[in-house]
Amino acid sequence: MNILSLLGTMPGAIAQGLIWGIMAIGVFLTYKILDIADLTVDGSICTGGAVCVMLLLNGCPLWLSLLTALLAGMLAGLVTGLFHTLMGIPALLAGILTQLSLYSINLKIMGKANQSINVRMHDLLVSMQFLKGVPFYKNSIFVVFLFIAVIIGLLYWFFGTEWGSAIRATGNNPAMSRAQGINTNFNKVIGLMLSNGLVALSGALLAQYQGFADVSMGRGAIVIGLAAVIIGEAVFGRFFTQMYMKLISVAVGSVIYYIVYQTVIWCGIDTDLLKMLSAIVVAVFLGVPFWKKKLSEKYSAKGGKKNAGA
């Protein structure tokens, strides 16, 4: 085990972490703002990658391929949103249904389970090859960093507007929101569309970065996204209270996740176990606040006077 080899993997980890950071920001929008665990993302990240790769292979300009990937993701979010609001299906199940259909759709988009794209033959925005030996503005870390900065800027602006505030209120307290004249169903759909659009954009960048889109590239994506959200909160939650700070902490959380991930691989852990480890880490972090609350309640019930009610 050689520390230099670990350091050598770090630029890759950071680039991947940033790309997944866009995805994690999407998860943040649903999980933290709308209070919905949206499993559509496992499918829509691949949809983004598949759409982008197929368009590029067919000679479509880069910007249009990325834009179309984003729109495809928004469409997936729309479907989940309509399943949930129009058909009354619980959000979790609505997401699973869309995710399952996306598996077929992704196969149809690509025509097979895997489509690769060669960075030497196509003009790609990001790639593993663009980590060293390229001018800084072509460096994938720099490019994705710019993307994230713009996305965070836009989201910060949007969630400060009247409409954005209404979406935040929708996730915070739907009954109150309706009493204040907010169309909660509509806002949930919009939130899901925004989220899945970002996730698909992340998928489009990821497919370019790794040089292929694969029908299983989104498996467990929700867990990675949640891990990034949770890590960001654990590390920065105390000081970062503003919306844009929270978004930054999600992106940083994703980078931390990939740095730890690479380090764990470097330590020689069986890579087959990695998904399970991620799941356990997320489960533990999700469980901690619950137990904290439970223990503090138990403690105060014993120690303090019990509130007998009015």
């Binding site: 949007f158 400060g160 507007t161 009247e162 409409w163 954005g164 505030s165 209404a166 935040r168 209120a169 915070n172 307290n173 009954a175 109150m176 929101s177 309706r178 009493a179 204040q180 004249g181 907010i182 169309n183 909660t184 009015a310």
Partner: protein
């Protein structure tokens, strides 16, 4: 024109099951602009259901709801909100806990208006919100950026009340909005309610389990039982009411004892 017209509204829950419950039965009610009506009745009498029917939480079986002559029966809850101010029994329900006092007020100030891409919190509004908060006399004007979740139940209820009236509603709906508060805080919130109703001349329906409050506040009192209004008392006659005569009237009309586990009879 009446501020509110309920025309023979009927609502059945769980229709066609063993739990079928007719919560409102051919209920009609008309409020004049400026009426401050207190609503009392036993457990399950249909008081909350009547308020929810006005707010449009679910569709009615039959009947219509008119606000200042407009038929709103077909409007979904979020659209009717434009005409209504609401405060609920549960202090947690009326505000967004994760948002600041300022943000909550700004949300309420846009009730019934288009929410576009303009910045939510404008400098010019802040001064007005600060003034309104100061009128509560709870010191909240200095905590405008605090999250509402950090406030006490009474403070939250006062903020909710402010949100309900920040834009003059055509009808203010209060569903036992002081029931979850300790007696002192409840009295404060009730006084604030009365002050706002009088200042702004708001048409108000206030459900309460406190018979004395029902007598002391407002210009009209209605009593409900089994999804119907069984007593409706105005003006001078209302002023002469006592808790005892009310209980007596209830027993006379309904043929049963007044049963409300939260009722305060004195």
């Amino acid at each position: 024109m009446p501020a509110l017209d309920l025309l023979q509204i009927t609502k059945t829950f769980n229709r066609g099951t063993v739990n079928e419950k007719r919560a409102l039965e051919n209920l009609s009610l008309s409020l004049n602009p400026g009426d401050f009506v207190t609503v009392i009745g036993g457990n399950g009498a249909g008081k909350s259901t009547m308020l929810n029917a006005i707010a449009g939480i679910w569709p009615l079986d039959s009947g219509s709801v008119l606000l200042s002559g407009k038929d709103v029966t077909a409007l979904p809850e979020y659209k009717r909100a434009a005409y209504l101010g609401r405060v609920f029994q549960d202090p947690m329900l009326g505000t967004a806990a994760g948002m600041s006092i300022l943000e909550n007020l700004a949300l309420a100030a846009r009730r019934g208006k288009r929410r576009g891409l303009a910045w939510e919190i404008k400098k010019s509004e802040q001064a007005r919100y600060q003034e309104l908060l100061a009128s509560l006399n709870l010191g909240l004007e200095n905590r405008m950026t605090s999250k509402v979740g950090l406030l006490s139940g009474g403070q939250r209820q006062a903020v909710t009340l402010l949100m309900a009236i920040i834009q003059k509603p055509e009808l203010l709906l209060l569903d036992e909005h002081t029931a979850a508060l300790d007696p002192k805080t409840a009295a404060t919130v009730l006084e604030l309610t009365d002050k706002f109703v009088k200042e702004k001349n708001l048409t108000t329906l206030m459900v309460t389990h406190n018979m004395q409050n029902a007598i002391d506040y407002g210009n009209r009192l209605i009593m409900m039982n089994n999804g119907k209004i069984i007593l409706d008392i105005y003006g001078e006659e209302k002023k002469k009411l006592t808790v005892e005569t009310l209980l007596h009237k209830f027993e006379e009309i309904s043929g049963s004892e007044f049963a409300n586990d939260r009722a305060l009879l004195s």
